[in-house]
């Protein structure tokens, strides 16, 4: 691998790690607060990409507006998931997980029926051109993901540490019963967690829409990767999710470049299996799931 290729791959890994982080923190947050896992997190990602497709490609709104709009729209879907799927199955993580698998099927069909199945929806790249860094060319469209992630994840961190509602979320994640005794409404907190979880998945999908083919099934790979990231990081740990996201981003990108994407996926999965065997709580987690 030459130096230019290395820089190129390194930058790509950072971008991919950023996207993984943005997708996975939502999953980790929801798991921490609800003790429930969303199988269709990838479909929320897909929904975000379709928001951009509709608002930017079809309606003609500015790309930035479409990306920002993806947050509330997909957040609403996340809240719907919480109300309809997670609340009735609360306490049974397998039931909730399978119910969201059903919801994923439903979303794929609805999107496919509305905007076509299997067609590659190309979203015109809004930020054209590329940046020259140490001799390697990295497209602006990809590069913009890194600051976006810093803003989003930084914002989440601020929200969880400094804002009252965010502190409530953390209290619920640590000890739901104690949180309820302090007057925190568990239902409100789970709803808020799924709202944020959906919003983050939506924005990530929106940012990726011009880069990868937009199809009803595009979310699957990202959903699966988000799960691997969250398990490696430690199910309920946001910091763990960010760390694992970049580890997986680097594993996937470098192995794809040197070998191929199938090998990259295999190594990623194997890495997760090893982490589970050696430290079943994940890298930074302390709860066994």
């Amino acid at each position: 691998m030459g130096f230019e290729t290395f820089v190129q791959t390194f930058a790509n890994a950072l971008v991919l790690g950023s996207i993984y982080a943005m997708v996975a923190v939502g999953l980790a947050l929801a798991f921490g607060v609800m003790q429930m896992a969303n199988f269709s997190h990838g479909e929320l990602f897909m929904a975000g990409a379709y928001v951009v497709y509709v608002l930017y490609s079809l309606v003609g709104l500015p790309f930035l507006v479409a990306v920002v709009a993806a947050f509330p729209i997909v957040a609403l879907i996340g809240m719907l998931f919480e109300r309809v799927l997670f609340r009735p199955t609360r306490g049974n993580v397998l039931s909730g997980f399978m119910a969201t698998a059903g919801a994923g099927f439903i979303m794929q069909v609805l999107v496919g029926q509305q905007w076509g199945v299997g067609l590659m929806r190309s979203v015109v790249v809004p930020y054209k051109g590329s940046a020259e860094i140490l001799g390697a060319a990295i497209s602006w469209q990809r590069l913009v993901i890194i600051p976006a992630t810093i803003i989003m994840v930084g914002g989440l961190w601020f929200f969880l540490k400094k804002v009252k509602a965010g502190k409530g979320l953390r209290a619920c994640a640590q000890d739901p019963e104690a949180a309820v005794l302090q007057g925190i409404s568990l239902n409100k907190m789970t709803s808020l967690a799924m709202l944020l979880s959906g919003g983050f998945a939506g924005v990530s999908g929106a940012l990726m829409a011009p880069i990868i083919p937009v199809t009803p099934y595009m979310g699957h790979v990202y959903g699966v990767t988000a799960f691997i990231v969250v398990i490696v990081g430690g199910m309920a740990s946001i910091e763990g999710a960010v760390l694992a996201a970049f580890i997986l981003g680097f594993i996937h990108t470098f192995i794809s470049t040197v070998y191929d994407s199938v090998t990259a996926t295999m190594v990623g999965v194997l890495f997760m299996a090893i982490v589970l065997v050696v430290k079943p709580t994940g890298l930074l987690g302390n709860v066994k799931v």
């Binding site: 896992a37 309809v84 799927l85 009735p88 199955t89 049974n92 993580v93 397998l94 039931s95 997980f97 399978m98 119910a99 698998a101 059903g102 919801a103 994923g104 099927f105 439903i106 794929q108 069909v109 609805l110 496919g112 029926q113 199945v117 699957h220 699966v224 799960f227 691997i228 398990i231 191929d260 199938v262 090998t263 996926t265 295999m266 999965v269 194997l270 997760m272 299996a273 589970l276 065997v277 079943p280 066994k288 799931v289």
Partner: protein, 329 residues
């Protein structure tokens, strides 16, 4: 520990159902008969998956284990010309071997982590099929798997398996045998040990049941039957590729057992039957079918978490409640 009074009540319907299946080729088209063959294979798969869940360990790789059996059969039959009476048992043994390897790390985890880890390891195997062209054929899989053969044309014992009726009966025999064996295992001391692990694994350890060993064992037994199902599938469809064993298929398997229920032996049978029926009836709505099944899955999980098998007791207690009687156990 079966109660003798209930078993005589059960055997009559069982005989009737088997009779109906024997009679089916007389009335249905060749196409439908192939669907019925697939249905019988799915019955083995669902019932072995139900066995797996008796320890409380739901997996997401049962479909992959079926794939292992199918790939083993396909490669043995096509590349090495191994006859079915050797290929099928070999495929089952290979599947048990793979199950054993998977079970060793998996048995270190429980509950949701087990569920997810089983998915990850399953995906690993599927990617092995995708990656290695020899012997797995990469994304195109193994094609042109020879039909199984009993005798040559002219032998008095020759059976022509190009005729789908003959393969249907071949599958039927395996299905009935598998169901019988799984029934015996379910009602045996080993079966009860597994159910006990689900109820209280600490207590099991204290009375001398090695929980880890039994969790590995159940994974292998379930894998054996998944391997048999895969082997039959390979002979039935003639070509297999990694896309046959994707996550979506696993979700359908989960829908069967969720709809039927896993607490009793009969739940998964009810589940596969009713869902296969719905699947066929919904054939005209092909593109909408996943949506329908997604809805069914959600409705069952939310409104009837025990599955259809709990329907009869529920109706019973509802009517008993109407006349003001308490149900007596």
């Amino acid at each position: 520990m079966s109660k003798s009074n209930s078993s005589s009540f059960i055997w009559l319907p069982v005989v009737i159902v088997i009779g109906l299946f024997c009679f089916a080729p007389q009335v249905v088209s060749a196409y439908r008969l192939e669907l019925l063959t697939i249905f019988l294979i799915n019955v083995i798969l669902a019932q072995s998956y139900r066995l797996m869940t008796t320890t409380g360990d739901w997996t997401l790789c049962h479909y992959i284990l079926m794939g292992v059996g199918a790939y083993a059969t396909g490669i043995l039959a096509k590349k090495f010309g191994v006859p079915f009476y050797a290929a099928m048992p070999l495929a089952a043994v290979i599947t048990v071997g793979v199950s054993l390897i998977l079970a060793l790390p998996l048995s270190r985890t429980i509950g949701f982590a087990f569920f997810i880890a089983s998915f990850a390891l399953g995906e690993f195997i599927r990617h092995v099929w995708l990656k290695f062209h020899t012997p797995f054929g990469g994304a195109r899989g193994v094609n042109g798997i020879p039909k199984l053969e009993i005798g040559q044309q002219g032998d008095w014992y020759f059976i022509d398996f190009w005729d789908s009726t003959n393969f249907y009966f071949f599958t039927l025999i395996f299905t009935v045998l598998a169901l019988l064996v799984l029934y015996r295992i379910d009602r045996s001391r080993v079966g009860n040990a597994w159910k006990s692990i689900y109820a209280d694994s600490e207590l099991c350890e204290s009375i001398g049941i090695n929980v880890t060993r039994y969790r590995v064992l159940i994974f292998c037994v379930a894998g054996f039957f998944a391997g048999i199902a895969g082997s039959l599938l390979a002979y039935q469809v003639g070509s297999i590729d990694p896309h046959n064993f994707e996550m979506v298929e696993m979700v359908y398997l989960i829908i069967w057992v969720v709809v039927g229920g896993v607490k009793t032996y009969w739940g998964p049978l009810i589940g596969v039957f009713s869902m296969s029926l719905v699947f066929e009836l919904a054939r005209p709505l092909q593109e909408w079918r996943p949506l329908l099944f997604g809805l069914i899955l959600i409705l069952f999980l939310v409104f009837m978490p025990g599955g259809l098998e709990t329907l009869l007791p529920r109706i019973k207690s509802f009517f008993l409640g109407l006349v003001g009687k308490k149900e007596v156990r």
